[in-house]
């Protein structure tokens, strides 16, 4: 068994105001080596797996597809479009609409019948190449940010005037451990990817931001030093995972409201994205990723899963039954949505799956009256006033919402997490943002 990080790391993350976030799920997963989950008989590949327009399908029912072959995404589509690839060799059975697991809106899905699970890179490895060729390969391989937001990587790498590249290995979500596992198990590929990113951006000032302590990932740290990549040890907390706050933490530069890190000359990429970039250069399309699955029944598991694999298939593979669980959260347990049923597949953005049994009471079921304790504004990492915003959102008071800077909410969920009255403030804040933008306001 490959050596894991030291066991003396903290039991909790510490947030503003001294509030603690329990990281026992992470702790239980951190020593589990990656297990590859074989593809399901039927794979369901959503054509919208990134921020930006849905990729146009390039296949039709009955077409044969190969592992890693592009099945959607036309060259002439918007710059933000990212192609989608087949995770298996097989036949397209159907293309249809289905509610998207994240947006809830209808999205197109390509159903592929798996005929062969063998993996063989679809593209030729890319040798020494120009920045543009590297960038084109990143896009062609369908690489998007794997930290959860799934922003097109080629767009971020196209930024000009970048002085700093920050690799976000903070993995601040309390239920995820897959990034640290990747650092332990695939250090060389990750560092190759980081270097390629630096090359494309034209910067040698690269900082690897991690919450791990010195010596927890020795091989990886040795390679970082050898590659002249700085290590920034970030204090162990949840909120600094946000890229805007990470820039402040690492560079002591504040990204102005409404702007993004490139505005202060920085680009932030997730560490798993660096691995995807490296694999893209080897000819691998982004059709699989590492994720952490946690449930009381299975414990913490780090899995290597192909996009399009239905969640029920993963559960069965682990010896659990989909009926063992009452709700399943995608990605972060602080920010991720739940899936409505077991048929939903893993997407590029799925960094984790957390399955809760019916005996694990949903904490926000019984909402109490607000007592104005101020816990929410104490813990808020961007220093806004969630309770005041909630009141303004309820009244539809746009002037007040603007005064209180509703636009700066990063949706981290900490305000709800600490609320002693179990009030879910984030949906109210989203409604407030909709009021300000003049969008339709959802009912709660």
């Amino acid at each position: 068994m490959m050596k894991g990080p030291r066991k003396d790391h903290e039991h909790h993350f510490k947030e503003q105001g001294g509030f603690e976030v329990d990281i026992s799920m992470k702790k239980e997963s951190i020593d589990d080596e990656f297990t590859e989950v074989p593809p399901a008989d039927e794979m369901m590949v959503f054509l919208s797996q990134h921020i930006g327009p849905e990729a146009e399908p390039l296949v039709k029912k009955g077409d044969g597809v190969k592992y890693g072959e592009k099945i959607a995404g036309k060259e002439e589509q918007d710059h933000m479009m990212v192609p989608v690839h087949s995770p298996v060799t097989g036949t397209v059975q159907q293309i249809k609409d289905m509610p998207h697991p994240i947006s809830g809106e209808k999205g197109r899905v390509v159903i592929i019948k798996t005929e062969e699970s063998k993996k063989c890179p679809f593209y030729e490895p890319l040798g020494p190449a120009s920045k543009q060729a590297l960038l084109d390969r990143v896009r062609e391989a369908g690489v998007v940010g794997l930290g959860g937001a799934s922003f097109p990587t080629h767009v971020k790498l196209s930024e000009k005037g970048i002085d700093h590249l920050i690799i976000n290995a903070k993995e601040s979500d309390p239920n995820l451990a897959c990034d640290v596992r990747l650092m332990i198990e695939r250090p060389k590929e990750m560092i190759d990817g980081i270097k390629i990113m630096g090359k494309i951006l034209g910067t040698e000032d690269i900082t690897f931001a991690t919450r791990t302590k010195e010596g927890e990932t020795p091989r990886f740290e040795k390679l970082l030093k050898k590659s002249d990549i700085n290590i920034a040890r970030i204090r162990p907390n949840y909120s600094v995972g946000s890229e805007r706050l990470l820039v402040k933490e690492v560079l002591d530069k504040e990204v102005p409201s409404g702007r993004f890190p490139p505005y202060v000359g920085a680009v932030v990429h997730n560490v798993a994205t660096a691995l995807a970039v490296s694999r893209a250069m080897e000819g691998e399309s982004l059709v699989s990723r590492g994720l952490t699955l946690y449930s009381k029944k299975t414990g913490g598991k780090n899995l290597w899963v192909r996009m399009g694999t239905p969640i029920e298939h993963i559960l069965r593979y682990l010896g659990a039954s989909p009926s063992d669980f009452e709700r399943i959260a995608l990605g972060s347990i602080m920010m991720g949505p739940t899936v409505p049923n077991t048929s939903y597949p893993v997407l590029k953005a799925t960094s984790g799956l957390t399955a809760f049994t019916s005996s694990e009471r949903y904490p926000y079921k019984k909402q109490l009256a607000c007592i104005r304790c101020g816990y929410c504004n104490t813990v808020c990492p961007v220093d806004i006033y969630p309770q005041q915003l909630m009141m303004a959102a309820k009244k539809g008071d746009v002037k007040r919402l603007k005064e209180l800077h509703i636009e700066d909410c990063i949706d981290c969920g900490l305000c709800s997490y600490v609320c002693p009255s179990y009030i879910k403030l984030t949906p109210h804040l989203r409604r407030g943002q909709a009021h300000v933008k003049g969008d339709a306001v959802e009912d709660l």
Partner: protein, 359 residues
């Protein structure tokens, strides 16, 4: 619905986050109650069974109101306002600890009833939150009503026995005659701590053994320690405590320097002033357990400091004029400023502390 979805097992769909820190309102109230019980225990040690009866009377009254209203709400098919007796018990304990020892029990019952029924249930039902501190407002109303009665010389005897406010405090000159007043207090305080046999002055009594005044002030030092633990552990609005007690300390020092007494050294005057202005129950207990009541106090951080400073200044002005129980009226006045304080001095969020240069 698609075939796959029809076949698939449905899951519960909920918004994130999917976990909670684990500390809820009821637990918060229970812990507050337990911490205040330590203060109550200390006060009963100092003040005796009369203090215990006040506390029990206050707790009993709020529980009667709570159970009656809850039963009525259930009978009417309405969701009970309180799903546990935690918050009512805390209110009852505060009433008990905020009463002067000599107050008639009937006054304690009236204050506890008003606190629970009028300022917790009715205020909570008709307003979007509680704008006024229930205990402070109830006590202020009773105090002012009795003050009116006192001026008309009705029930004079009962008032002399001590209710919420002591007309005899008016005779003291709290400015130049402060040292004399403390001397007068010597008679109301013990000079030796029972069991230990330690001799103490009126000044020291304010810190350690104070059998006069608010029940919650029996052992000032215990209130200070337990209050500090509560602020840290339960994350009360600490800025209010710090600014109230800090301002009172500064004002006490200033007063000691301005109104000196030739027979007493400046250091002793300062100690005496701090003992009285900071360690009286109406200040110390109030600062920790009443002024931090979350609903009626501001949320922005700087506004909490302003609230505490305002509370201390008003209280000090009342004290200088011989109105020694005036801190609760000061608190009600400051509660009224909370909606305004909520709107001013909002801290700048991340992203607004730098100038965004237009490209």
């Amino acid at each position: 619905m698609l075939e796959e979805e029809k076949k698939a097992r449905p899951y519960k769909v909920v918004n994130p986050p999917h976990v909670h820190i684990g500390l809820d309102k009821n637990e918060l109230m229970l812990k507050t109650f337990l911490l205040m019980s330590i203060i109550a225990y200390a006060s009963v040690m100092v003040m005796g069974l009369q203090a215990l009866f006040h506390i029990l009377v206050a707790l009993g009254t709020v529980l009667v109101v709570y159970n009656s209203v809850t039963a009525y709400q259930r009978w009417k098919g309405v969701k009970p306002t309180y799903d546990s007796p935690g918050s009512p018990l805390v209110a009852g304990m505060i009433v008990g600890l905020a009463m002067p020892l000599e107050s008639p029990y009937l006054v304690t019952v009236v204050v506890a009833f008003m606190t629970m029924f009028v300022f917790k249930y009715i205020q909570g039902k008709y307003l979007d939150h509680k704008y006024l501190n229930p205990v402070a407002t109830s006590k202020s109303i009773v105090l002012l009503a009795l003050y009116g009665v006192a001026t008309l010389n009705v029930f004079e005897g009962a008032l002399q026995g001590g209710m919420l406010f002591h007309p005899h405090h008016y005779q003291h000159n709290m400015m130049g005659g402060f040292a004399d007043m403390m001397g007068f207090f010597e008679s109301a305080f013990v000079d030796t701590i029972p069991f230990f046999g330690i001799e103490i002055s009126a000044t020291q009594a304010h810190f350690f053994w104070q059998p006069h005044g608010w029940i919650g002030s029996g052992m000032g030092i215990v209130v200070l320690v337990v209050g500090s633990i509560a602020v840290y552990w339960l994350r009360y609005k600490w800025r209010i405590v710090v600014s109230t007690l800090g301002t009172m300390t500064i004002l006490a020092i200033v007063a000691a320097l301005v109104w000196q007494n030739g027979d007493i050294s400046t250091a002793d005057m300062i100690t005496m002033r701090i003992a009285f202005h900071v360690f009286s129950g109406s200040i110390l207990f109030m600062a920790f357990f009443m002024a931090t009541e979350p609903q009626s106090t501001p949320m922005p951080e700087f506004s909490q400091f302003l609230f505490g400073v305002g509370l201390a200044v008003l209280t000090f002005v009342f004290q200088l004029n011989g109105f020694l129980g005036g801190s609760i009226i000061a608190l009600v006045i400051m509660n009224m400023t909370t909606p305004l304080l909520d709107r001013i001095v909002i801290k700048k969020p991340y992203g607004h502390r730098v100038k965004s240069v237009v490209d």
